[in-house]
């Protein structure tokens, strides 16, 4: 099912949670809504679901204008961060709920419902737990029940609101992988909200990055990582260091001193250069390079990093260095930027 939102605006009181958001979601796509707290990503998800009504704009499910359609009729599956399982029902009854509330001819027979629940228990690797109560299950299991419940009515689109937010890091990783496999098997159009960029980049076909109620960029993981559309996207995705510079055509200067900065296009006036730790090389200090002092060298899971204070020590850049690279704190070094992006702020 293709989903389109056009110019959605939503306010709570006087704070605008969404300001003119438009997005097109392809059929069968797994797309992540990524952004910091307060960016509006959950609000957008809830508008798509029909749990919130937008103040302006339209929502399309396929060709149909669904803006005024109540949530019950949208055929969505929604998974909440805190699972929202029905505590007074067994796992079976939870999963079967959407089928039980169907009315008249649409409602399948008891046997058919039972069969469907068994299928889903299998799919979710919850076989044998059907008669338990939700609180008897672990967090990861409960979330899988919530997912099964959402899938039971064969929804047109699956919406997940920070589905792994309440789980341990380890369980989160496992479920992430598992969700991707599930998606490949079932092929539902899936939209999920997260503030964890690693999760978004690992799972999603495309990522929509939101900030303060607006979409900053939509693209694949490679696109948003390698070609960020704005300073916000660049600093939100992956680690970044930023250097305040003055642009003059194709050249940049820091503290009055020009240096090598391979950015695209021509710019004028003040701005910032953004660079990833991997794209910095440490060299002996020389003219044409930024020069600074090594402030700190520390170990990371992947290797080593050095923090270098440029120029008058106010700007710190972080560079990846080899495990064996001899670098001492206090040493004066030159910083070569291999790849940078330039933005106005």
């Amino acid at each position: 099912m293709r989903i389109r939102v056009v110019d959605i605006a939503k306010e709570f009181g006087r704070t605008g949670a969404l300001r003119g958001v438009s997005l097109a979601i392809e059929d069968g796509e797994l797309i992540a809504l990524l952004g910091p707290s307060g960016s509006g990503k959950t609000t957008l998800l809830r508008v798509i679901a029909g749990l919130e009504a937008p103040n302006a704009g339209r929502v399309y499910f396929g060709e149909e204008d669904a803006t005024a359609l109540p949530v019950q009729k949208r055929r969505i599956g929604f998974v909440f961060q805190n699972y929202a399982l029905f505590k007074h029902m067994s796992v079976r009854d939870n999963i079967a709920y959407g089928l039980h509330v169907l009315r008249g001819a649409a409602r399948p027979s008891g046997t058919a419902i039972r069969k469907r629940v068994d299928e889903l228990l299998d799919l979710m690797q919850l076989s044998g737990l059907g008669d338990r109560r939700p609180w008897q299950l672990s967090g990861g299991q409960q979330q899988r029940v919530a997912l099964a419940r959402a899938l039971a009515v064969d929804p047109a689109v699956l919406l997940l609101d920070e589905p792994f937010g309440a789980l341990d890091a380890r369980v989160r990783k496992d479920l992430r992988r598992w969700l991707r496999q599930l998606h490949e098997r079932t092929g539902h159009t899936t939209v999920f909200v997260t503030h964890d960029q690693e999760e978004a980049l690992e799972l999603a076909d495309r990522v929509a990055i939101l900030n303060s109620g607006k979409i900053e960029q939509v693209g694949s993981a490679d696109e948003v990582y390698d070609n960020p559309a704005s300073a916000f996207v660049m600093s939100f995705i992956g680690d970044t260091s930023s250097i305040p510079v003055a642009f003059d055509g194709a050249r940049a200067s820091y503290g009055g001193e020009p240096f090598e900065a391979p950015f695209e296009g021509h710019r004028h006036g003040p701005g910032r250069l953004y660079v990833r730790p991997r794209d910095i090389a440490i060299a002996p200090p020389q003219p044409g390079l930024l020069v600074g002092r090594v402030a700190k060298v520390h170990r990371t899971a992947a290797g080593r990093r050095a923090q270098i204070a440029i120029g008058d020590s106010e700007t710190i850049v972080e560079a990846e260095i080899g495990i064996d690279q001899p670098l001492h704190e206090g040493e004066r070094v030159g910083v070569r930027l291999l790849k940078v992006k330039a933005f106005a702020e």
Partner: protein, 276 residues
């Protein structure tokens, strides 16, 4: 396990000792006297006094009307609790405070007010008399008084639960296609059921014991509109302490049974919902 876990805080001995002394003197001693008196009657004496026709009638009237009043209060109580907790409207706080009126108002005051209100020349009694309905001095009057007296119990037991309902569960139900009515019936009511039952039991216990609010509106005709507590007082005035004690013992036995039932309901509720 020893009697008490060690604690850094002092004063347990003093506080606990005083508590036990107080309870012993004020509560246990008099209750022991009751038990002794009942024992003195012997099981047969108790049974004879309890099955005496007027006592049976009084107990039947007390329990029957209390049951009906508690049932009505349970239903309206849940509705009132829902409206007061979930909706915002002018005067809500005032109404919420008003629910405690039967609890704060002296029973005698409530009694004469209700009697006057429902008397044939009263504001409501007068209107009903026009329709040929008599309330004061009939069992119907007792019923009205009991509904008044027991209402706070049914509202206040359910209110905290309604306030704690996780809205995302209601949203989940909606996303799964349930209409609002289905959500209420399948999700919300089962969640509130233990509290509603507890409220019913508490309301029933209160209604059965009620005296002051009822005696003015009741009429107190033996076998017709005489409740058990009134009969106890009459027996005392006749210096028939035994008769009074017998009825009292039965009422206490019932109160005890209700307390047990409440505990059972609450552990059932905890089992069903995991943690209550």
């Amino acid at each position: 396990m020893r009697f008490r876990q060690q604690s850094a805080l002092p004063g347990f001995g003093l506080a606990f000792g005083y508590t036990l002394f107080y309870l012993g003197f004020i509560v246990l001693l008099p209750l022991a006297a009751l038990v002794a008196e009942a024992a003195g009657l012997g099981l047969r004496g108790l049974w004879a006094a309890a099955t005496e026709p007027r006592a049976v009638a009084a107990l039947r009237i007390s329990f029957g009307l209390a049951l009906a009043a508690a049932a009505v209060d349970s239903m309206f109580g849940a509705l009132i609790a829902w409206v007061l907790t979930r909706y915002r409207f002018p005067g809500r706080r005032l109404l919420d405070a008003a629910v405690d009126l039967p609890f704060a108002l002296p029973t005698a005051v409530a009694g004469i007010a209700l009697a006057t209100l429902y008397a044939p020349n009263g504001w409501i009694g007068g209107m009903l008399a026009g329709l040929g309905i008599k309330v004061a001095f009939t069992p119907a009057g007792i019923f009205i008084a009991l509904v008044f007296v027991a209402l706070p119990f049914t509202v206040r037991t359910v209110q905290p639960l309604i306030a704690e309902i996780d809205r995302s569960v209601e949203e989940a139900s909606a996303t799964l296609g349930a209409s609002r009515w289905q959500t209420i019936r399948r999700i919300i009511v089962p969640m509130l059921a233990p509290a509603m039952l507890t409220g019913f039991a508490l309301a029933f216990a209160r209604a059965v014991s009620e005296y002051g609010s009822v005696i003015f509106i009741a009429g107190n005709l033996p076998y017709v509109s005489e409740i058990a507590p009134v009969l106890i007082v009459i027996r005392l005035e006749e210096f028939n302490v035994r008769g009074a004690t017998a009825i009292a013992v039965i009422m206490l036995a019932l109160a005890f049974a209700i307390l047990l039932a409440i505990n059972a309901i609450q552990s059932w509720g905890r089992r069903r919902f995991g943690h209550a």
